[in-house]
Every structure is written in C-alpha cells, then in structure tokens.
Symmetry: C2
Subunit: 130 residues, 2 copies
Amino acid sequence: MLRVTATTPQEAESCPVRDVLDRIGDKWSLLILCALADGKLRFMDIKRAIGDVSQRMLTQTLRHLERDGYITRRVYPSVPPRVEYELSELGRSLLVPVQQLIAWAETHHPEIAAARDRYDARPENVPQAD
Amino acid sequence: MLRVTATTPQEAESCPVRDVLDRIGDKWSLLILCALADGKLRFMDIKRAIGDVSQRMLTQTLRHLERDGYITRRVYPSVPPRVEYELSELGRSLLVPVQQLIAWAETHHPEIAAARDRYDARPENVPQAD
DNA sequence: CCGCATCCCACATGATACTG
DNA sequence: CAGTATCATGTGGGATGCGG
C-alpha cells in the first residue's frame, strides 16, 4: 500500500503529503502559483489575474504559500505601497509534478465526464442532487 | 500563465483541474485510492486500512470516486452483504501523476518544514497562531 | 456487513468596511 | 495599494442510531 498518511493522529500531523495537498488542494493556492509562473507580480496583479478572489482569501493564501516557502514576498517602502510576490525555487519545483497532474486532468476529463453521465443515468442513484 | 481555471463562473464549473483536485484534495479520497492500489478490498477492509475515517465519510467518498469512474463497486447479494471496491483503469492511471506528487512531497518536506520554522521565527509574524 | 438519515459543530470562504 | 477587522454563511465532517 502506498503510504500517504499515518494511522495515528500524532503521525498525521507531520504527513508530508497532507502538508502539500492541504495547500494545492485548497481553492486558491494553485491559481496563485500558476499566476506567478511567468514571473513576479504585485498583489493587485494577482487579484486581477485570478478574478473572483476576495482580498481576504488572497492575503491569507499568499501568507500560507510564503510560510511554506513556495513564494517570496518583497515589500518596497514607497507610497503608495508596493509588494511583489515571486515563486521561489521550491515553488517552481512544485510546479513540475503539479503540471503533470494538470496534464492528466485535461487528458482524462472526458472519461470522468462520461463516468458521471453513466453513474447519474442509473435509476438507483437519483434520490437527490449530489 | 498556466491555465488552471477560468475567469468566468460558467467556465469554472467545467474546469478539469478543479474536478480532479476537488477529489484528490479532499480528506479521504487519496487515502482510499492508495489503499486500493494493491487490489480489491471490502468496505470494512478499507475502513481498517485507513483507521480513523467514519463510515459516513467513507461511504460518501467511495460514492464520489465511483461516480467519477476511479473505482468500481461490486455487490455480492449474500448475507451478510459483501461489497468489493477496486481501482478502475482510470483510477490506476491517476495514481501515476499522484505518486509523482507524493514523491515530490516526501523529497521536499524538509525544505517546507525549514521554511515554516524561518517564517515563524520572524517577530512580525507572531500575533496569533495561524 | 454495509450504508443511509439526522443532528450538530467547526471551519473555510465571502462581503463589507476600515486603515497605514 | 495592500492589507486588517468584523460579521455572515455554506459546507465538510464527526457522532449516533436505524434498516436491509
């Protein structure tokens, strides 16, 4: 069996895979990482690139990504303030397996959609919307 | 910029990457897929393999995985009931990029931990627990 | 053994307003 | 511009009990 987490709560706290998935599995982290793939961006540039993220969630997600070392944050003490975010080496290296997953998703999306159609077509699975 | 989602809500509904990440990013799906990597298992076997999952969440996650075509569900009309779950071809193929991500996570976990320690050591980041 | 229904709570996320 | 603070809310997920 592949080892993804641990059987005891203590071990689960330090599961490497959960650490990573808790980040890229959330709603905004991956979008931010991909927005920064081309180079450094300012706060508002990221916000515009993503579109429908609230300032609160953007700030929070950026902090998490910074804490884990995926991005760097640089503040220029000018007025108005200017903050630039950039992928770190670690962040860029994460993008490699992530892009493989993205490629897989795009390749197999039709199969997933077909599987859902088949599943939803079965009479026994229609009680309510799921 | 890497394209991970869309800028409009309508497009976001059918984003392939979100479809996949919403699954493997949740709390139990990846654990179940990995538990099934070695072969078919009965409901209770999966529950024991994972350890601290509730029956409710196990059932729900298995349904989602079945609906998306990652696993197959086979019911034997015996008494007591007997249900076996098995990875589909699609599920096995998903494990390829997923295992790369797992490998990345295990390789780079020390760097993440170090980055967190550095971040948490900075005085300006200590207001509350985050 | 397998799974559904119900209740409930914690938390992630969003909306809005305010600040340096 | 780049946040912080506050309030509201939807949903994930646990506990428990019942049913086939």
